[in-house]
Each structure stands twice: as structure tokens, then as C-alpha cells.
């Protein structure tokens, strides 16, 4: 019986070959594909090579959706802790700035509650991760220690301590409004005879307001134009400023005239629903009306 000469390949070479193939596949590679690509290797050699790579943490195994196991290059940072710590750390690292919720960690690692808590505490103590409370929920999220949490978690510039800073927003709205207003006044005063010029000059770019705000130090942190646009959107809703198609804004003329409906006390009368002629609350004997007519 003729013996087929088996080519001897040393373990190092096999490992190298496998690593190259896995590195080439961005999303990792499953076992069948790897077998097809490394047909030259004996099953036992392939197995040893993979085990070697996994042991030296150059590769990891991940479960893809559908239950298929895939080999992937281990891009995660090595922290040199216990395997549990490493697993949790990798998951948190993967979540990037969005953070990861404790239940997702449990599902991802398969650790039980007790182990998970212990590991997380030790990682926190090592200052490798930190917890963040997301805006609007009570969910606690974990992210890497050195990262700034995403806008969707913190809510952006206008949030402090996970709460919307209404005071700050109101201040910014009124500052923007009064700046636009003063510019409008200035435009009218400096061009007394040309209405076209008055109108054109009263339109300003949002950047001018941003510059004004940072110059006057209304805000401690720098205000981006995107954030200012948000403020201006609200001011447009309030009717204090109006926006032109090219993005320039100007102050709206103030509407002084109040509706005649509100000049009568019935507009804000707390007992208007119970008011009936001939009853104890009636228009004839109304005290609010009396005060109103007496005050003339």
C-alpha cells in the first residue's frame, strides 16, 4: 500500500496561516469557511493552531446571530485580569460611547448576577470603567473610563446632572432675542430713509449671536452653532424671531395689541364655569367685574 507522504508543517506556520485568513475577514470567519481556505492543514493541526491563537488571545470566538460561531481577530485591549473581567471589558469597550446596560452584559457574558457585580466592582476600582446615568431613564450604563458619553446619554449642552437646564435655555433664548432686537433697532436707526436696507440689515447670521454669547461669557462652556440653532428654533416657535430661507434670522416686530377677549375679567375668571345669571356667582353680582369697573 502506497503511503502518501505527508507534508509536515510546523505548528508556528499553521498558526500564522490561520491568523492571516482571519485577519483578512473583517466580520470574522466561521469554521466551514476556514476549513475550505486551509485545506492543506490536517484537522488536528488546524485545531491546534486555533487553540494556540485563542490561548495567546490573538483570536476570539464570537456567536453571530443564528448561533454560528465565528473566529475574529481580538482587537480588544488586554487588561490582564481574570477571564470574566476580560469578557466584560471587551463588551463595554465594544459599546463605545453609547454605554452598555447591565442586563445586556449579563446576556452577553452568561455570568450570573453575583459574579457580574463582583467583576464590575473590581473593574470600577481599577478605574477601567465608569457608570453613567442616562437622561430621562433610571438605567445605569457602563462605559470605558476614558470616554466621554454620547449626546443621547447626556442630552447635550443643555443638560446638567441629567436634568434639562431650563434656566440656561431661557437665558439663552432671551439673550438671542434681545441681541437680534438691538441689531434690528440699529439697522432701522442707521438707515432711516431706506426700508429695503433696514430690512436687509436687520437680518443676522446665527454665528454672530454665537460670537456675542461667547464674547459676553454668558456660558462657561463653548456653545456650538448646532446648539445655538436649537435655541433659535425654540425662539422661532416663541415668535420672538423669524428665520429666512437662507438661515439668517431677525427679531419679529412685537405684537402689542392684546385681544379684546382678555380685557374682560371673564378671560381669566377661575369660576367662569359656574357663572350663571341669577345665581350666587352671576355676572350681575360679579366681584371681578366690580373691581374692573371700579378701577377705571
Amino acid at each position: 500500500m502506497a503511503q502518501i507522504k505527508q507534508e509536515l508543517i510546523n505548528p508556528g506556520e499553521a498558526e500564522q496561516q490561520v491568523l492571516q485568513i482571519v485577519e483578512a475577514a473583517a466580520d470574522g470567519i466561521d469554521m466551514d469557511a476556514l476549513t475550505a481556505l486551509t485545506a492543506a492543514l490536517q484537522p488536528i493541526e488546524r485545531q491546534n493552531a486555533i487553540n494556540g491563537l485563542l490561548g495567546s488571545k490573538k483570536l476570539t470566538i464570537q456567536q453571530a446571530p443564528g448561533g454560528v460561531l465565528r473566529l475574529k481577530v481580538n482587537t480588544g485591549q488586554q487588561i490582564g485580569g481574570t477571564p470574566e473581567e476580560q469578557a466584560i471589558y471587551s463588551l463595554i469597550e465594544e459599546s463605545k460611547t453609547r454605554g452598555i446596560w447591565i442586563r445586556e452584559l449579563r446576556d452577553g457574558t452568561g455570568l450570573n448576577q453575583l459574579q457580574l457585580r463582583k467583576t464590575l466592582r473590581s473593574l470600577e476600582n481599577k478605574k477601567l470603567i465608569k457608570t453613567i446615568k442616562a437622561v430621562g431613564t433610571t438605567k445605569k450604563c457602563y462605559i470605558l473610563f476614558g470616554l466621554e458619553p454620547d449626546m443621547s446619554l447626556t442630552g447635550g449642552t443643555f443638560y446638567s446632572d441629567q436634568q434639562l437646564d431650563s434656566e440656561l435655555i431661557n437665558t439663552l433664548i432671551s439673550v438671542s432675542g434681545s441681541y437680534a432686537n438691538s441689531r434690528r433697532k440699529h439697522a432701522i436707526d442707521s438707515n432711516p430713509n431706506d426700508i429695503q436696507l433696514q430690512r436687509e440689515a436687520s437680518y443676522i447670521r446665527p454665528q454672530e449671536i454665537a460670537d456675542f454669547i461667547s464674547e459676553k461669557r454668558v456660558l462657561n462652556v463653548p456653545l456650538s452653532v448646532e446648539d445655538l440653532e436649537k435655541i433659535l428654533d425654540v425662539a422661532v416657535l416663541d415668535g420672538t424671531i423669524e428665520r429666512r430661507a437662507d438661515g439668517k434670522i431677525r427679531a419679529c416686530p412685537p405684537r402689542v395689541s392684546a385681544s379684546p377677549l382678555v380685557s374682560v375679567p371673564c378671560a381669566v375668571c377661575p369660576v367662569v364655569e359656574d357663572c350663571r345669571p341669577g345665581y350666587s356667582i352671576s355676572p350681575e353680582t360679579c366681584q371681578y367685574m366690580k373691581q374692573w369697573l371700579d378701577g377705571l
Binding site: 426700508i195 385681544s259 355676572p283
Partner: protein
């Protein structure tokens, strides 16, 4: 304007107006008819024990004379009496209508309008006679001219003549020119034998006017249309006020604005109720109009004004073409909508907060939003936004729409979207305004009752003072002394103060009533578009 949709307070307002004018009995009859239109027999049955049949008939005559009740032949060939709430509403604008007549055609026209309003309807001869009885200086020529002016500008309208009767119900002529002046007035000629008037009681040979049977009344449709234009112009000019701080520019814009609406006036028929249709005006037309009315406006001025109006009117005035020097469209629908919105916002600002208006505007732009979206986009804290939304829903300014994730609309699986429905809100506001006007009328009549003794005294003092002034035997000094003495005797200091206070209060109540009636008109126009 349809008569449909009178709510509880609208009815109450109508009753308050009728009671204020004609007293409780007529008010009661109107109230019964407002609840349900019916025949005379049914009406008598309904009011059995409360109003005697003779008074019911008298009340009905009054109401029909003033145009508040109309009658039709129903399928049983009996007359069916129907109340016209809109006609009653017009009473509120009566002082305004007289003022319009005065501003446009002088005091004689005002007097004619006052007589027509206070009598319901009059023949041209009688109207002039009544004015002459009031004011001896008024010349027949001038009065006739004023009457013709009013008829030509369609502020007054002739009622159809009675042509005969069918099953005891008067039948009116259907084809006639409602605005043409009668040829012979105040001639008191011998009644011709051939003329069969239908009034058998009148003796043959009695002297009558040439225009007997031709009754005129105020044309409320025309006044409504005029007021509508006035409201819109006010809104437009008020809006551009601040940006054109210069008085001259402001004046030019305002004049142009008036001219544009005057143009439309000439084109519209005032036989139909005031509408909210858009219309166009060209620069050429406006220039011509300015010349005809001898207003000093150059073409450049008009161009500039139109330009400003286009830019500042929030889409009410739009340039749509270059025909005849520039064609502009006036979006009346939009104007009325914006006016209603302005009233609504003013009300919300008083009742709730500026932030509620922010939410309203947001919902107007984005239509359907849930609580979280409102909170994010209006940059309010969750609590604030929720409270504001609930308050808005409670007051009927914002509505919710339930979108179920499952078929059973189980609350946990249902999303509630907030949205605006200006029509629905304005319907509520009409009721609100009617209640407000009702309160003003009731308060006014109450104040009048409370101060009746003072008014009576004041009425007695007046002629005495006049008498002293007219007395030629006294010199100036003793005249003044006597007047002071009489006044002090009848109306001592505190009473006089009280009377002044009452007069002020009454003026304030009436002014509010007039302004509210204008708002009500805007709301009604919005709902009828």
C-alpha cells in the same frame, strides 16, 4: 351664514340681547323659538300660563319687524316661525354700523341708520320724516342725498314688497332691485283707486307717500363685509407698525391697504353674506382707485407699500404676477385664520403661559406629536411639558388622538398624539365669546337698574338747567349760581360722583361689547369658510 350650530351660550347671548332691547316677554318668546322653531299654536301651547296669546302675537310682530324671526309655509300650509340668531348678533354691531355710516357719508346718514335700526324697517319717506322730527336743521335735499348714498353703497337694502297672500301667509315679490331709490317720496299724494294695497282698513282717499310699502332696513351683510375688511386692515397695519416706524411710510402703507380692500368692495355683491374669498388687485387698479378718491399716492409709493405688505404680512398679501404693473393676491382666508390665531394666542398667554404658545406653534408646524417629542423639540423639562399639554387639552386648545398598538386600545399599549384643530378650538371660542358678551349685557342692564334713580334725577335736572340758561332776565353770574344750586339740590356731590362712575362703567362695558362683537365676527367668518 348658516344658522346651524348655535350653542348654549350663543342662545343665551341672543336671549340677553332681545331682553335688553324689548324686555322679558319678548325674550321669553324668542327663547322658546330658539329652542325649537314652531307654529303659532304650538308656541301658544308651550307658553300657556306664562304669556297671554295676545302678547305672544305682539312679541312675534316685534321680532318679525326687526328681522329676528322669519316665517315660512310648512307642509301643513301653516306658517312656521324660525329665529335667525345671526340677525340678533348683528344688534351688537349696530353702534359700529351707525359710526361707519357717519364716517363715510356724514351725520345725516348716521341719523338715517339710527332710525332704521331703532324701528327695524321704515319707508324712505318715514325715515326722512323721523330724522327731520329729531333735528329740524336737516334739509330734505341732504337727507335724500344721504339716503341715496347709503342705498348706492348698499349699506341699506329694500325689503321685498308684499305681493299677495297664500293660505293666509304673505307672499313677497321675488324679482326686484333691492338698492334702487323710490322715485316719489314724501309727496303725500291722493291714494289712487286702482292701487290694491291689501290694507283694507285704510280709508280710500287717505293721503299716502309714493313709496308706501317699500320698507328699507340696514344691510347687515354689507356691514359684515365692511367690518371684515376693517379687521383685516387693522391686523395688517398693526403688524407692520413697528418695522416701519416712520410715520410717512406707515401712512402710505395704510392708505394702500385701504384702497386694495375698497377695490374688492366694488366687485362683491352684498346680497350674499360676507365671504372669505381671495381676491386680486393690480398696481394699475390701485393707482386708478387713488386718483378717483383723490388720494395723494404716487405709483412708486404704491409699489413700495405693496412690497412691504408682501414681505411683512405673513403670506396674506402675495405677488402673483406682473400684469398691469404687478398683480397682488390678498389671501382673505389666511388673514382670518391668522386673526383667529392671534386672538387665541392672546387668550392662552393670559390663561396659561408663553410656553403654552410655544407648544401650540410646534404642533402647528409638526402636526401630530407625542409627549416626548413635544418635550424634546420645545426644550422643556418633561414635567413642564406634560403639565402644559394637559392644561391645553383641558381648555380645548389642543386635542389628543389615541393610536393603539393593539386592537383593544389598552392604555399601556396606546400612544397618545397631540394635535391642533383650529376649527374645533374656534368653535369653543365662539361659545366663550358669546358667554362673555352675555355677561357684559347682563352686567350693563344691572348697572342701569341700580342707578335708575340717579338717571331719573339727572333727566329732571337737564330741562331745569336748560330753562335757567334760556332765561333772559338773569345775568351770567346769577345763572351759574342758580344752575349750581339746582344741581346741588337734585344731585348732591356723592350722587354726581356715582353717576359719573356709572357712565364710565357703561362706556367701558359697551366698548368691550363692541370689540368682542368684532372678534365674534372674525370667528364666525373663519368657521363659515
Amino acid at each position: 351664514m348658516g344658522t346651524l350650530g348655535g350653542g348654549k351660550y350663543e342662545t343665551q347671548m341672543c336671549i340677553a340681547i332681545i331682553e335688553d332691547l324689548y324686555g322679558k316677554i319678548v325674550g321669553k318668546v324668542a327663547e322658546t323659538l330658539l329652542k325649537e322653531s314652531c307654529q303659532l299654536k304650538t308656541l301658544e301651547f308651550k307658553l300657556k300660563g306664562q304669556v297671554t296669546p295676545i302678547l305672544i302675537r305682539k312679541s312675534l310682530t316685534t321680532l318679525i319687524n326687526f328681522g329676528f324671526v322669519k316665517f315660512f309655509m310648512d307642509s301643513n300650509r301653516k306658517s312656521l316661525y324660525i329665529v335667525e340668531p345671526n340677525a340678533i348678533r348683528h344688534v351688537l354691531s349696530a353702534p359700529r354700523a351707525c359710526l361707519i355710516a357717519k364716517t363715510l357719508y356724514g351725520p345725516d346718514a348716521e341719523a338715517i341708520c339710527e332710525e332704521l335700526f331703532s324701528q327695524g324697517k321704515l319707508t324712505c319717506s318715514n325715515a326722512i320724516r323721523r330724522v327731520q322730527a329729531r333735528d329740524e336743521q336737516a334739509s330734505l335735499m341732504n337727507l335724500k342725498k344721504s339716503f341715496t348714498d347709503l342705498a348706492n353703497s348698499q349699506f341699506i337694502i329694500r325689503n321685498p314688497k308684499v305681493e299677495g297672500e297664500l293660505h293666509g301667509i304673505p307672499q313677497f315679490e321675488t324679482v326686484f332691485d333691492a338698492f334702487v331709490m323710490p322715485n316719489e317720496i314724501m309727496d303725500m299724494s291722493e291714494r289712487k283707486e286702482t292701487e290694491e294695497g291689501g290694507s283694507r282698513k285704510r280709508k280710500i282717499g287717505e293721503k299716502v307717500d309714493g313709496d308706501v310699502g317699500e320698507y328699507w332696513r340696514l344691510n347687515w351683510n354689507r356691514f359684515d363685509a365692511y367690518l371684515r375688511d376693517e379687521i383685516i386692515v387693522e391686523f395688517l397695519i398693526g403688524g407692520t407698525n413697528a418695522s416701519t416706524s416712520e410715520d410717512k411710510t406707515h401712512q402710505i402703507v395704510s392708505q394702500t391697504c385701504h384702497l386694495i380692500f375698497k377695490l374688492n368692495e366694488l366687485r362683491c355683491s352684498s346680497l350674499k353674506p360676507a365671504n372669505v374669498e381671495n381676491f386680486t388687485a393690480s398696481t394699475y387698479d390701485i393707482v386708478k382707485m387713488a386718483k378717483e378718491n383723490s388720494i395723494q399716492l404716487s405709483k412708486a409709493d404704491i409699489d413700495l407699500s405693496c412690497h412691504i405688505l408682501c414681505d411683512e404680512s405673513d403670506g396674506i398679501v402675495r405677488r402673483i404676477g406682473d400684469t398691469s404693473g404687478g398683480l397682488y393676491q390678498i389671501d382673505v382666508k389666511r388673514a382670518i385664520r391668522l386673526i383667529c390665531r392671534a386672538h387665541l394666542e392672546s387668550l392662552i398667554r393670559e390663561q396659561l403661559d408663553q410656553k403654552a404658545i410655544r407648544i401650540m406653534h410646534l404642533l402647528e408646524v409638526r402636526h401630530y406629536l407625542d409627549e416626548e417629542q413635544v418635550e424634546k423639540q420645545s426644550m422643556m423639562s418633561a414635567k413642564e411639558a406634560r403639565e402644559m399639554l394637559y392644561a391645553l387639552v383641558e381648555e380645548g386648545y389642543v386635542f389628543t388622538k389615541a393610536v393603539g398598538r393593539s386592537g383593544d386600545f389598552q392604555p399601556a399599549r396606546t400612544i397618545y398624539l397631540y394635535y391642533l384643530d383650529l376649527k374645533k378650538t374656534v368653535q369653543g371660542l365662539v361659545e366663550y365669546t358669546c358667554k362673555l358678551i352675555r355677561n357684559l349685557i347682563l352686567r350693563n342692564s344691572f348697572e342701569r337698574k341700580e342707578n335708575k334713580h340717579l338717571l331719573d334725577k339727572d333727566a329732571t335736572v337737564g330741562p331745569i338747567v336748560e330753562g335757567i340758561k334760556g332765561n333772559e332776565e338773569l345775568d351770567e353770574e346769577s345763572k351759574l349760581a342758580q344752575i349750581a344750586e339746582v344741581e346741588e339740590m337734585y344731585l348732591p356731590g356723592p350722587d354726581r360722583l356715582q353717576l359719573d362712575k356709572f357712565r364710565k362703567a357703561q362706556a367701558c362695558l359697551l366698548a368691550s361689547q363692541d370689540r368682542s362683537a368684532k372678534v365674534l365676527l372674525a370667528f364666525k367668518l373663519f368657521l363659515n369658510q
